[in-house]
Amino acid sequence: MISKKSKEAFFNPLSKDNPVLVQILGICSTLAVTASLEPAIVMGISVIVVMALSNVIISLIRNTIPTTIRIIVQLVVVAALVICVQQFLVAYDYDVSKQLSVFIGLIITNCILMGRLEAFALNNGPWPSFLDGIGNGLGYTIILVIVAAVRELFGSGSLLGFQVIPQWCYDHGYENNGLMILPPMALITVACIIWVHRARNPELMDN
C-alpha cells in the first residue's frame, strides 16, 4: 500500500520539493490571503481538497483523455471542484468566504494545481496521485500558515482573532506594526522562510 514511490509523493513536497519554497509557485495567493491566520487555514484546506480530488479524477481518466485537449479537461475538473468548495464555504463559513473573495475561485489558476496534474497525475495511478495532491496541498498550507501567523501576530497582535500579545505590552508602549498587514511584508516573510530553508538544505542552493 505504501510503496517507496507513494512515500516520496507524499513527503517530498513538504520540504525538499516544496511548491512555494523550492518551485516558487502559488506566490500570488500566498501574498493575498495571509494577512490573518483564519482565511489562510481555510484557503490551505480548500487547496488540499481540490488538489487531492482533481489529482485522483484526472489520474482515473488519464488513459482516455486525448493529449490535444488535456488542459481543457483538467480545467473543467478543477473548476467543478472549486465551485463545489466555494459553495460549501458560502453555505457554512460565510464571513471567511467574504474575506477570501475571489481567491477561492482563483484556485483554478493556481500554478501548483496545474503543475501537479500535468507532471504527476497524468502519469501515475490514483493512489500515488492522491498522496501527491495531499502532500503538495500540505506543503503549500504549511507555508501559508507560517506566513499568516507571523503577519497576524506582529500586525494585529492576535492569532485566529484571539489577542495573544498581552495588554500589558500595549500599556508599556508596544504597538502593532502596520507594515505587516501590507502585502510587501508577505513577500519579505516568504523570502525569510526561503532563506532559512535554503540554509538548512544547502543542496537546494543555486550556484
Binding site: Y174, E175, N177, G178, L179, M180, I188
Partner: protein
C-alpha cells in the same frame, strides 16, 4: 600613540585564527584600522594613491551633517520651551535639552546598526565597512523626535538587514538605508510619524524641562497645516503656539519638524562643505532643486482648494518639509544614485519633481521627499543603462559614418 600601538600588537594574536577571541577578528581589524593607518599595500600593478579613502569620505559627510544636527538640537529645545510656555529660556538651555532628547536616538541607531554590521562582517569574515557611520547619523535626524526608541531599533535593524546586508553590504545597496528606516517607521507606525504629536517633545529629557503645553499649542508642522487648509486662499501658517511664521522662519528653521531637516540654512552650509570637498555631486543636488522648483511653479499656476499645497509659493515649497535635506544628503548618496553625468541630471530632476508631486497631489502624505528619493533609487540603474546604451549607439553611428 606608541603605547596604544604596542597594546594593539600585544592583543593581536588572540584575535587571529586559533586564538581565544578568533570570533571577534573583524572587530579587532575594525578597531585597528580606525586607530591606525593600515600598513597593507597593493602588490601588483600601478595604483594611484589618494588620501581620500572611504573613511575620510564618510567623515566629511558627517561633518557636513553637523550644522543641521546642532541646529536641530537647538530647535528641539526651542519648540519644547515654546510649547510649555517658557519662550525666554536661554539658547544654551534649549540646546542642552535638544542634545539630551536626541542622544538616546543617536545611541540606539548606532548600537543597533553597527551591531548588525559587526555580526554580519564576522559571519562572512569580511572587514567591517564604514558605511553605517553616515547612515547612523542620518537616522536620528530624519525620524520625529517623539518616536519610541524600540521602534527606531526595530526599523534600523530591518533596514540594515533587508536593505543593506542581503544586497551585499556597504556599496551594494539599492535603496538608501536611512530612508528605508524612515519608510518602515512611516508605514509600520503611521500614527507616530505624522500628525500633531510626532514632532514636538513635551516630556522631559532625562529630567530636564518637563511641563504642560500652553492652551494655544498645536504641534502640526507647516506642511501638516497646509494639508488641512480649507478654502481658496492659504491660511497664515503658525508655529507651535499659534504665532504666525514667515518663509524666512522656515528658511532659518524655527519650525516644527524632524530634527535635522527644518533649517534650510544649516543644510545649505552642509551642502557647501560637501560641494567644496567634492564628496557629493553638484549635478544631482542642483537638479533636485531645479526639479522641485519647476514642479512647484507648475502646480502653482492653477491653485485649487482641493489640493491646498498648490497654494504655496514655489520658493517657499523648497523651504518646508524635508525637501532640502533630501536634496543635499539623500539624493547625493553615490551608491544608490545614478552614476553617469547625464543620468545624474535626470535622476535629480525627477526626485525634485516627484517630491513636490507627492506632497501636493497625495492627500495621504503631507511630505513626499522620502518616497521620491526611494522611487528614483529604484530607477537609477535603468537611467544609467539608458544613458550608457544611448552613448554606445551614438558612437557606433559615428564610427559607421567615417
Amino acid at each position: 600613540m606608541n603605547i596604544l600601538r604596542k597594546y594593539m600588537n600585544k592583543i593581536q594574536p588572540q584575535f587571529r585564527p586559533g586564538g581565544k577571541l578568533a570570533k571577534l577578528e573583524s572587530v579587532y581589524d575594525g578597531m585597528e584600522t580606525f586607530l591606525f593607518t593600515p600598513n597593507t599595500t597593493s602588490r601588483c600593478g600601478a595604483h594611484i594613491h589618494d588620501g581620500n579613502d572611504m573613511k575620510r569620505t564618510m567623515i566629511t559627510v558627517v561633518v557636513a551633517l553637523l550644522p543641521a544636527l546642532l541646529f536641530g538640537m537647538y530647535n528641539i529645545g526651542l519648540q519644547h520651551y515654546l510649547a510649555i510656555g517658557q519662550p525666554d529660556a536661554t539658547w544654551l538651555t534649549m540646546w542642552t535639552f535638544g542634545l539630551l532628547a536626541m542622544l538616546p536616538v543617536i545611541v540606539v541607531s548606532y548600537v543597533v546598526g553597527l551591531g548588525i554590521e559587526f555580526i554580519g562582517a564576522q559571519i562572512h569574515h569580511k572587514e567591517i565597512q564604514e558605511g553605517f557611520l553616515v547612515t547612523g547619523m542620518l537616522i536620528p535626524m530624519i525620524v520625529p523626535i517623539n518616536t519610541p526608541l524600540w521602534m527606531v531599533a526595530v526599523a534600523t535593524a530591518f533596514a540594515v538587514i533587508f536593505a543593506k546586508e542581503v544586497f551585499g553590504g556597504t556599496g551594494m545597496n539599492i535603496f538608501n538605508v536611512a530612508l528605508i528606516t524612515r519608510a518602515v517607521l512611516f508605514f509600520g507606525y503611521p500614527s507616530r510619524m505624522s500628525g500633531d504629536e510626532a514632532f514636538v517633545k513635551i516630556d522631559s529629557a532625562f529630567g530636564m524641562g518637563q511641563g504642560t503645553p500652553v492652551d494655544a499649542f498645536s504641534g502640526a508642522t507647516p506642511l501638516g497645516q497646509v494639508a488641512t487648509n480649507v478654502g481658496d486662499t492659504l491660511q497664515p501658517l503658525h508655529n507651535v503656539v499659534g504665532e504666525p511664521i514667515s518663509t524666512c522662519d522656515a528658511f532659518m528653521g524655527f519650525i516644527a519638524g524632524s530634527p535635522g531637516e527644518t533649517s534650510m540654512l544649516a543644510i545649505l552650509i552642509g551642502a557647501a562643505i560637501l560641494l567644496i570637498t567634492g564628496v557629493a555631486s553638484w549635478r544631482v543636488m542642483c537638479s533636485v532643486f531645479a526639479g522641485g522648483l519647476a514642479m512647484a511653479a507648475l502646480v502653482h499656476i492653477a491653485p485649487t482648494a482641493t489640493y491646498p499645497a498648490t497654494l504655496i509659493d514655489p520658493l517657499a515649497q523648497l523651504c518646508y518639509g524635508g525637501f532640502a535635506f533630501a536634496a543635499v544628503f539623500m539624493a547625493t548618496d553615490p551608491v544608490t544614485g545614478a552614476r553617469t553625468r547625464i543620468g545624474q541630471y535626470i535622476y535629480g530632476f525627477l526626485i525634485g519633481v516627484f517630491a513636490i508631486l507627492i506632497r501636493v497631489y497625495n492627500n495621504g502624505f503631507p511630505e513626499g521627499a522620502m518616497l521620491a528619493v526611494l522611487l528614483m533609487n529604484a530607477f537609477a540603474p535603468l537611467i544609467d543603462h539608458c544613458v550608457v546604451s544611448f552613448n554606445i549607439k551614438r558612437r557606433l553611428k559615428r564610427a559607421a559614418n567615417k
